[in-house]
Symmetry: C2
């Protein structure tokens, strides 16, 4: 297959009349520029690399546009979310994830990290054959997105509290049993869905006891991506300090959870010492600005974390908004609101967040440029979007919107955004059926 891009904008370059040849497996054979008028299977007027979504809870999509009247705080929202979590089976999970992942690809995300904790039947009895996890893998295949399944250890309700209610579906009981299931899942995916990257997650310091953090980390392969919710709300910091005498960051660091393969999610309420520690560990940070505004979490510390050496990435988290460009604009905008300065994060850092750093958070060592030998990911943008008129090529990342994405190529597979949006609608209808 041959793809022509009248203009291809990457982090550092603007290539005009680029021509990309792919083999039958979607791998790049050759990239040339300055080849105007060449014949191609698809001609993209304006293209950028595929964008990475490092934090998603697919099923939270069912809450979009349904929680405003409830008011309250994060914890009241969580009660509503738990009611939805309690109602899902593998079929509905597959349907809602297909809807969400299709909306993501339509918007320009070509890879997603699914932070997954809804493992078991109501009450906690396991499904046979990893039914929930396979449902997510099937949804990703249907939508055509690269999936990193971040299977989460969720073992308790909070410091010294056993899981209850919907949380019984999340828990494997002990760190050892979670690890056992994780390794079995790895085997199952390797045979049925080799395209899925299996990663791991520690839900949070609330949900995994200090002694289990070390156990869990030690039982994972060294190359598995490891994600963890960190300091999203002040209350979880206070509980952690009260129970352990440490901030969540310090606790995670001392149990070996912080390293270059780690992505901490949110990292909203940190001390200066936390920021220095996260930077020194070279972690990635998944900032989820649309969710953090929706849940009233706070503006976070993007500029300081970047300065300290952490790698910023973006996530759509609860999927109330699925728009990578909005996340980027809010990532920079939040840093501006927090500092009263403009252009806080260099443009290259915003590109890294949406592309390289994001993909690396999901697949350590990923080669994510338009590189010979790699399966191609690209996003095609509308050539004459009124929104982008006059915008400088490298600033489009903070000026575009989801609807400017008109087509995507993931692993060499071309899909129209409009067809993906129709599929998202249909799958959502299926997920809501009988609700």
């Amino acid at each position: 297959m041959r793809i022509a891009c009248e203009r291809l904008v990457t982090r550092d370059e603007v290539l005009d009349h680029a021509l990309i040849d792919l083999d039958g497996d979607g791998r790049v054979i050759a990239v040339e520029s300055d080849r105007p008028g060449a014949r191609a299977d698809h001609v993209l007027a304006l293209a950028i690399p595929g964008l990475a979504n490092t934090h998603s809870h697919a099923f939270h999509r069912l809450l979009r546009g349904r929680t405003h009247a409830g008011g309250g705080d994060f914890w009241r929202w969580r009660d509503t979310m738990y009611r939805v979590a309690g109602s899902l089976d593998p079929d509905r999970m597959r349907a809602v994830a297909t809807a969400v992942y299709s909306e993501m690809v339509a918007a320009g995300y070509t890879a997603v990290g699914e932070f997954h904790y809804l493992h078991h039947r109501p009450g906690g009895l396991p499904y046979p054959d990893h039914a929930m996890e396979i449902a997510l893998a099937e949804a990703a295949a249907e939508a055509g997105i690269r999936l990193t399944l971040l299977d989460a250890a969720y073992l308790r309700a909070g410091f010294g509290k056993a899981p209850e209610g919907a949380q019984l579906r999340f828990s494997d009981g002990t760190a050892e049993r979670w690890l056992e299931r994780w390794h079995r899942l790895r085997g199952a995916l390797a045979s049925s869905h080799p395209e899925v990257t299996l990663g791991a997650a520690l839900h949070s310091v609330r949900a995994v006891a200090p002694e289990d953090l070390g156990l869990a980390v030690g039982g994972l392969p060294a190359d598995a991506p490891l994600h963890v919710h960190l300091s999203e709300q002040p209350a979880e910091n206070a509980d952690c300090v009260a129970a352990t005498g440490m901030t969540p960051t310090v606790l995670l660091d001392l149990t070996g959870a912080l390293s270059a393969r780690t992505t901490v999610v949110h990292a909203t309420h940190l001390t200066d010492a936390d920021i220095a520690r996260l930077g020194a560990a070279r972690v990635s940070v998944s900032m989820c600005p649309t969710t953090e505004a929706d849940l009233g979490d706070g503006l976070g510390h993007a500029a300081e974390l970047h300065e300290a050496g952490a790698r910023l990435t973006i996530g759509s988290d609860q999927n109330v908004v699925i728009d990578p460009f909005d996340e980027v604009r809010r990532l920079e905008g939040g840093a501006r609101l927090a500092s009263g300065r403009r252009g806080v994060l260099p443009l290259g850092t915003l590109w890294d967040a949406a592309t390289t750093a994001g993909h690396t958070s999901l697949r350590p060592g990923a080669r994510t440029g338009i590189e010979v030998g790699e399966q191609l990911d690209l996003v095609a943008l509308a050539p004459r979007s009124a929104r982008l008129a006059g915008v400088r090529p490298h600033e489009l990342l903070g000026a575009a919107a989801a609807d400017d994405a008109v087509a995507s190529i993931v692993r060499g597979r071309y899909q129209d955004s409009s067809a993906l949006r129709t599929r998202a609608w249909d799958a959502f209808e299926e997920a809501s059926h009988g609700e």
Copy 2:
């Protein structure tokens, strides 16, 4: 003309199978509901009332996607904006305003308040025949948006400082001469563009001296809308207190500028006493969240102002983003980030902000429902937008995006959003020509 809405969602109602009859002037003759299958000139699957944009500087659109690398603060951004302001003539002003207003109507805004200070030639010599103001009126007519032209008094660079550079184009020299021009402009618009509402603006306490504030307010008709920038940046508060011993809010109040016909813009950095005073005066507040993030202004005081009795509205201001739904989502989101609570502003208040309160800020006494005798404004949304699947009718205002608007009716005139976006592109090209 007859408009059918399969579903019409207003602040308080959800009408199914609504039928709206219009006379030749676009005025509503009758509204009925439960009339499925009736013949109509336009069938809208999902419609909402027209949305109001209470604060726009059309020409700032030329800076979209061009200032990130500059960094700095608000004041450095202003230098860049002044360079653009220095380069415009009436033809380019008409072209860029046509682009911006077309993008607005495409996105669901049916009325705009243009806060206009670029009056004169470079150096300050007047154009003949109100050329800049007529250019804006023509642009609004071309785009089909309701225009309230807020002609601004801008008389000095700051406390005790004469205007300089681009500001020479803004200034009429004295409050008397500004008033004189304002009244002449009123006559000129009444004959050439009777569809335009002429309002007035005091640029800010920086740009109008205390003695001139009272003069200006006193010389205006009591029914003219009056807008003023208020406390966008801490530095202007400090300067005002240093020069007058008063906060900008107190100064405006003591000079008679605060009343129910007044809209204060931004109101980001206020004291508790300021908030109480603004509430007691029953002012409207134009919150411009996408701009306030872009310029690093701050999160503001939406919840407190609402609580105190002020009426919230939304504005696109510098037009880096033109998306009323995004402004609404960020209005509520900013209140959540500031408070750590959810559902801070009642849904009805968000609807008021985007509709009734906004329209009233632009046309005091406006009847802005779907009302017999009034010219009809409506926005048609995509019937099967994946983004809106599952969203409750009254929550769509905070869940939709500009691209969900597929058509608009303003004063009874129907326009497709896609045609408007093409017009926006073409007009922007014209505005950038030779740049």
